[in-house]
Assembly symmetry: C2
Homo-oligomer: 355 residues x 2
């Protein structure tokens, strides 16, 4: 299967996912195919998708349309692609990766449904009990990987240990951080601070051989003092959504303030480049999407409000992920950890822990 996948570099894109689908998705995919030269399989209601493509002019040989008659709505249950919506764009796009026709899937649709379909179609990497959704946040000095941001609301210490290993590999392979600093999200820096769960995870992470820097606080997410931050999916989801909304509110507030203090067009024109610069640094569309780590292939979940630029960037991130063979490296690392643990603990203890 691994060989088969490497023959094709295509990214399967859910044309029907997101608030601005299919238009923004098709535009973003078109830009990725033409300007970034990434082969794309556009999955969705064929007639609609072809209409949008026709609007964009010349046909692009790097785009192939794959028909999917159904669409999973944003409010449908995460299990929809497994049951009532087996012919949905989300399910079919994920299946293309499972069958080796694409290396990764990109969707700005129903997050839970994308994760469920990806796990079903691609399978989970051996040694990973739960895949984790990772957000790539802007910080003062680069990027911080925060995981899990919503794949799992209740987690055990060994799940967080697996998240730490996967986040470390993503930061190292894709973001180019040679020795990523890994922190545990808590409410104080000292080892004893936090909940029963975080105290146990602290102990577990100290023993991993990762560059574990201890507990970090909410403010460290943006400080550039840590590269990978692990937490359970409930906390991660709340903090991610709050951060996105706050960054947007602050951007809107500064625009309002500038409008009300600069009454002239000349004044407003003067500060436009600064506002664009700010947006480039803080808008989630700029990074594009969150990788689901731990499945046997690439899976990127975009923001529901993804613009064409957001979709294009998500496709670029997915192509980078495949080029760096991140999921293969996670698989190798998990196999190595498993061997070491069997040597130390014996297989029985591990089975008990996994339950």
């Amino acid at each position: 299967v691994a060989t088969k996948r490497r023959t094709s570099l295509a990214i399967a894109v859910d044309a029907m996912g997101g608030d601005h689908a299919p238009r923004a998705v098709v535009e973003g995919a078109f830009a990725a195919a033409t300007q970034d030269e990434i082969p794309v399989l556009l999955v969705g209601q064929e007639e609609l998708v072809r209409q949008e493509l026709a609007r964009l002019g010349d046909p692009c040989r790097r785009i192939e349309v794959v028909h999917a008659e159904e669409v999973v709505g944003m409010d449908e249950p995460a299990t929809a692609p497994l049951r009532r919506k087996r012919r949905s764009s989300i399910r079919i796009a994920c299946d293309l990766v499972g069958k080796g026709r694409a290396q990764a899937v990109v969707s700005a649709g129903n997050t839970g449904a994308v994760m469920t379909a990806a796990m079903k179609a691609m399978g989970t990497i051996p040694g990973v009990d739960r895949p984790a959704l990772a957000a790539i946040l802007p910080s003062r000095s680069g990027r911080t990987v925060l995981l899990d941001v919503g794949a799992n609301v209740s987690t055990k210490p060994h799940h967080l240990r697996q998240f730490a290993v996967m986040g470390h590999l993503y930061a190292q392979q894709v973001l180019g951080t040679p020795r990523p600093r890994v922190g545990l999200l808590s409410v104080g820096e000292e080892e004893g601070k936090g909940t029963d769960l975080t105290r146990e995870v602290f102990r577990v992470l100290k023993e991993t051989g990762l560059n574990f820097v201890g507990n970090v606080e909410g403010r460290d997410l943006f400080a550039g003092t840590v590269d990978v931050v692990v937490c359970d999916g409930f906390v991660g989801n709340v903090v991610l959504k709050a951060s996105e909304a706050l960054a947007q509110m602050v951007r809107e507030m500064i625009e309002e303030e500038i409008r009300s203090s600069l009454r002239t067009r000349v004044g407003a024109a003067l500060v436009m480049p600064a506002l664009r610069g700010l947006k480039r640094r803080t808008d989630p569309n700029q990074f594009g999407a969150a990788p689901l780590l731990g499945v046997q292939g690439g899976c990127f979940v975009g923001h529901g409000r993804s613009s064409a630029t957001g979709v294009r960037n998500a496709i670029k991130r997915a192509a980078e992920f495949c080029a760096h063979e991140v999921h293969e490296k996670i698989r190798e690392q998990m196999a190595l950890i498993h061997q070491q643990e069997v040597a130390v603990l014996g297989a029985g203890a591990l089975e008990a822990e996994a339950n």
Copy 2:
């Protein structure tokens, strides 16, 4: 005791708390005493405090200095004011409220130590199992009360029910929201979303008679769609610290972008009012401090980096809290709830729940 307290409107201020103490604290207290006409008891190392007061010119008759020889450091355990540091400014300032010499305490010092000393000196309101620290966040249409933000890292459903009642009363009495919308912080709007704890709390909050609007997500904190948001102290603390750091980072980024795009002093001068306007709307110093709700008196914990303006605003918030008799209203409401519950459940069931 209640009568005795009402005879004095003074606010006890910990002159030694915060990164810029005692200078910023004394300046803020001086402004509150002279410009806002609020009587202040300044608690700290007398010589240092008097030096700072002398620097500010004329003596103010509304300021009294109360000597405290010790200072609790930011890294000391929360129990320091009860044990090794009984002569600390935090402990003595809280004791002034306990003894009825002041109505409220304000400190920008060690949050855990302030909470511990306040609970010890003032006592907890009957019916409140755990006091909660509430953050007052800026939103698109006003203010959102988020609690708990760090007083309790592991909570039970009935604690969150008490937080909801206290947050409701704060929003109604102090922020002037007639019928505050109360939400439960979770990872999806539907009733079934979240953890075992949030699902149970959802059920409990539906039965309170509060204006419960259901689950809210991280983005709702700033959207102006909800007035009071309850969560456990771990999640609340992480999201508060992340939000403060992000707002500051975005403000710094816009300043950098403006500096690099506007090379002239004229251009920079043009946008200064807009930046000041943004800061006024998003800087934690503007609201001043977080109330600790559920103790028998006023207690406001300021940000460690509080400026003189932050301290002055914290003192104003504490004076408002006392003028609206919020803690008396929480006491009345808790007594009422207790009576109703005894009538419905019988006292035995309540005792079992409290443990």
